[in-house]
């Protein structure tokens, strides 16, 4: 079902529940993986993906349609991820390096992991990037999103995003070659 049709059905009292179920089924995997790559742990990702869709449900009336439905949902997910990671750092009074270590340990622990060595190395290299740069990298590299859409989600200019992605790729390649 197209997003426009989905939005129409979400506005109707009789069709709202059905349309919301379709919306969750349509976007759950994309949003889950977007979150999972940021928080690494499955349980955290599970909590956050549920929170994201509960917020979508709650604030559906606020969605005016001037952005695409999927960029709106991505924006909610992105904000949830960033505040989760910020809280995690604050809660444990941990410097960024320690949070990176903790997430890196999750990658090493092998729980729900299926990648081979190079991909695990890549994930660990990604953790060395600042959270926002990591988000941009993931959306561009893994989700193949257009810079225009990422700009809408992150409320950043396309030029800044291109520069951020370029630097991220350079850093990762350096880490993989020298780290």
């Amino acid at each position: 079902m197209e997003d426009s049709e989905l939005i129409e059905k979400l506005k109707g009292e009789d069709t709202k529940n059905y349309a919301f179920n379709l919306l969750v089924r349509k976007y759950q995997e994309r949003i889950y993986w977007h979150i999972r790559k940021m928080v690494i742990d499955h349980d955290d990702a599970d909590d956050l993906v549920q929170e994201v869709f509960i917020k979508v449900w709650k604030y559906l009336d606020n969605f005016r349609g001037d952005s695409q439905l999927y960029t709106w949902i991505y924006r909610i997910a992105t904000n949830e991820c960033l505040s989760f990671l910020a809280k995690k750092k604050k809660r444990f009074f941990l410097p960024i390096v320690d949070v990176e270590k903790e997430l890196s340990n999750h990658v090493d622990s092998g729980t729900n992991l299926s990648g081979d060595e190079i991909h695990l190395k890549l994930q660990k290299a990604l953790l060395k990037l600042p959270d926002k740069q990591r988000l941009v990298f993931n959306m561009k590299y893994y989700d193949d999103m257009k810079y225009e859409d990422i700009a809408e989600i992150t409320e950043t200019s396309v030029g800044a995003l291109k520069a951020s992605y370029h630097h991220a790729v350079k850093k990762i390649e350096d880490i993989l070659n020298n780290g």
């Binding site: 529940n17 179920n21 995997e29 499955h42 509960i54």
Partner: protein, 163 residues
């Protein structure tokens, strides 16, 4: 599962022989989820969403509650102590005295002139018990007896019961 695969897959040997280039690494999902996770998730979310609609009560975040409870306790205790303090008879008198002390003598005289309180009523209100005359009339001892006599003669006592 949402997973994009790329055809350019490089062997481990090749990767070790020359520098890594990101574009040459396949986009493989390294994480996995429990079996049937995405089949159950929509139902869990839908149930939570419907429940959140039913609950119309205002949810106070835990952080706010943690702050609100001690603040409420402090307010209650302060309120109780304040109430007790203000209603303490000794404190009450002290406060009244302090308030009167702030009023100038001129203002007091002017008020008494305008009010219906008579001199008799005023004298009734004042307790002289245990007080010496010196306290009310400082320097009285320094006034010569003749002058005092002249002063007393000038006063029209009218009714002797006033004393």
């Amino acid at each position: 599962m949402y997973n994009k695969s790329k055809n350019k897959i490089m062997s481990e040997d090749k990767l070790h022989s020359k520098p890594f280039k990101l574009e040459e690494i396949s986009k493989k999902e390294v994480f996995s989820v429990p079996d049937g996770y995405f089949d159950k998730l929509p139902t869990i979310i839908q149930t939570r969403a419907v429940e959140s609609t039913k609950k119309k009560t205002v949810l106070v975040p835990a952080g706010v509650l943690r702050l609100a409870i001690p603040v409420a306790l402090v307010v209650l205790i302060s309120g109780y102590v304040g109430f007790k303090y203000l209603n303490n008879p000794v404190r009450k008198d002290a406060r009244i005295e302090a308030m009167i002390a702030e009023i100038s003598s001129e203002e007091l005289v002017s008020y008494l002139d305008q009010s219906d309180i008579t001199s008799d009523e005023l004298l009734d209100m004042v307790s002289f018990e245990g007080e010496s005359l010196e306290e009310f009339t400082p320097g009285l001892d320094d006034v010569p007896d003749e002058d005092l006599e002249l002063l007393i003669n000038d006063i029209d006592f009218g009714n002797e019961n006033n004393i």
